[in-house]
């Protein structure tokens, strides 16, 4: 999917002035309330703390401090690993759940009902995230809805430990991510030319072969974009990790907090704002790498 950039160049006229005029609010808003604070955050990361006071300057102290504590004391590496593990598995689960759904929406649901079905799928997104997390608490609590039901049915003897584990974190994240991932996947999948699928079958491919050789490769942009989206949101989210994951939720890696939770806690303790900024900058760096990799691999063509 390559965009043609060969637009003819024209001298600026009224139309292009209007264009800039229309763009201006977005540019100004983003610059003032996103880009500037972000740059400020990165800048504070290079400040130092003297007598409990942040002192502006340019020093790598915070980063040296952080990297020296990767495996000792604060053990940042474990939190980063936990974050990456949870983000990766959540994203993969999200794709496994949302991709078939998007395919069904685009190819099975009658066109007239597609918009309606899409709205239904996205509807949870319009309810408060925090409320949804607390709702999930009552469902997955040790004495919650799910455990009570499973025990009543005699499927389990003791309650499942879901809450305050990273499984809980993932449930919260998935509930948040699914509508967005479905939307991204649907928009890409519903633009796939059905003729290409028919052409594949016409050339002798079974339904399964058509899926692997044509449909899946053509869905690649949607899969990559929604995966990047899911991974970045999962890495940055704090609430699910605290409310459902219990802060230091257990995963197969062990009971470590998410990196975002670490940053959140350090900020709440507010002992060293410059170092917290440096930690946040580190997380942003990881996100940028993921985003860049995603954009690199999103092309349909080989």
């Amino acid at each position: 999917m390559r965009l043609s950039l060969n637009r003819p160049t024209r001298p600026p006229d009224e139309a292009s002035l209007l264009k800039y005029f229309c763009l201006a609010p977005v540019v100004i808003y983003d610059s003032l309330f996103f880009l500037l604070p972000l740059l400020f955050l990165v800048w504070i990361g290079f400040w130092t703390v003297e007598n409990y006071q942040a002192v502006p300057g340019f020093s790598l102290t915070n980063y040296i401090d952080i990297f020296s504590q990767l495996f000792s004391r604060s053990r940042y590496a474990f939190a980063i690993a936990q974050s990456l593990w949870v983000a990766a598995t959540t994203t993969l689960l999200g794709l496994l759940l949302c991709y078939p759904f998007a395919l069904a929406l685009a190819f099975v649901v009658p066109p007239k009902l597609q918009r309606f079905a899409l709205v239904l799928a996205i509807a949870p997104f319009w309810t408060s995230y925090i409320l949804r997390l607390y709702a999930w608490q009552t469902v997955i609590n040790t004495n919650g809805l799910l455990n009570t039901l499973l025990m009543k049915l005699g499927l389990i003897d003791a309650p499942l430990q879901i809450i305050f584990t990273q499984v809980g974190t993932r449930i919260g994240l998935l509930h948040y991510l699914a509508p967005i991932m479905i939307l991204i996947l649907y928009l890409v999948v519903c633009n796939i030319d059905v003729t290409l699928l028919n052409a594949s079958k016409n050339l002798g491919a079974t339904t399964w072969q058509t899926f692997w050789r044509v449909l899946l490769p053509l869905s690649k942009p949607g899969l990559v974009y929604s995966a990047v989206f899911g991974a970045i949101i999962s890495l940055g989210d704090v609430l699910s990790g605290i409310i459902l994951g219990g802060g230091t939720g257990k995963s197969i890696l062990g009971s470590f907090p998410l990196f975002s939770t670490v940053i959140f806690n350090e900020y709440a303790a507010s002992t060293n704002l410059p170092r917290t900024s440096a930690l946040a900058t580190l997380l942003i760096g990881i996100m940028v790498v993921i985003l860049a990799a995603g954009l690199q691999f999103s092309a349909v063509e080989e």
Binding site: A199, S200, K201, N202, L203, G204
Partner: protein, 380 residues
Amino acid sequence: MNQPVPSTTMAPPEADPSPVISQDLELRQISKCYGQQQVLHTINLTVRQGEFVAIMGPSGCGKTTLLRIIAGLEGIAAGSVVLQGQEITQLPVNRRNTPMVWQNFALFPHLNVRKNIAFGLTLGSHRKGEVRQKVQRMAALMHLEELLDRRISELSGGQKQRVAIARALITEPPILLLDEPMSALDPHLRVRMQGELKRLQQSLEISFFYVTHNQNEAFSMADRIVVMNQGRIEQVGTPAEIYNQPATHFVAEFVGNNNLFDGKVTDVNGTIITVQCPQGKIHTLSDQPHTPGDNVTVVVPADRITLADQPGALGNTIQATLRGREFLGSQVIYLLETTAGYEVQVIRQEAFSQSLDIPIDAELYLSWRTQDTVLLGERS
């Protein structure tokens, strides 16, 4: 709607000279409905081995549906599809080996030219060396050797079409289905591709089932033309037959450059029949029985009419007023009004300078030979 619908406009079944498997494709009594609407009415058609058959008709006539039925992309209400003696009506799309060249080519954008061509071979258990060899041979045949490693987005329309044909032919199918493959090409390229396609079909000796709404394509390439209208076959014949002896009003009008005069038979003298039209008396020939009083239509091809300022001696003459003129290089198309509101077209191969002499609104005489006309029965 499962019982066969009697069809009067259906072409009579043709006598096959050799009853051995000389036909690649046979469509028997095919009917197709979309909901309440019947879109194909008991279609019978055979495609002989190595024959180039063009299905021609206006959009919505069912020609593409027929093609999709052969490929298995559409189900049918009744009838059967027989490919090389084997009934394939119930076979799924992927087991028919009836590859198609699609209107917009439908090349896989995520694969390069080589992988597009090889697609049909890589699905089964073909050895890699064999695949490479066959792709190489097909690329040579379609003049694509230089382009094998290109992306699809880097190809021109003509190149895309050659890749689409190569991809369809790689499994050595008994028949190739083509769905308006020229419509995405520019007119200049279209004429060149027509020649190439015909040569390819003749050298491969496989049948082509070519759907088009474009007469030029059908007439320049096909061995036989099938004219369809509203889900029925109007006429099946060689290009010359379709052109010279249109069987129905629809064919006479669709094939174009024909003037149709409606009238009543006034006199029958052997095979010579005289028809009284609003424009005047017209003589025509017919071996069908006619009696005075029959409502008929006389078809006069536009390129058989001569124009003169005096009544001609060609057997038929009517008077008309010149209303318009169009120069197409060596050809000139004249539009004339006979009776009020009725326009007649005349096409003459004429030098530019000579045609300038006739002023617009001049009273002229149109004349033509009786044997150049075709007589059709009453409009249905």
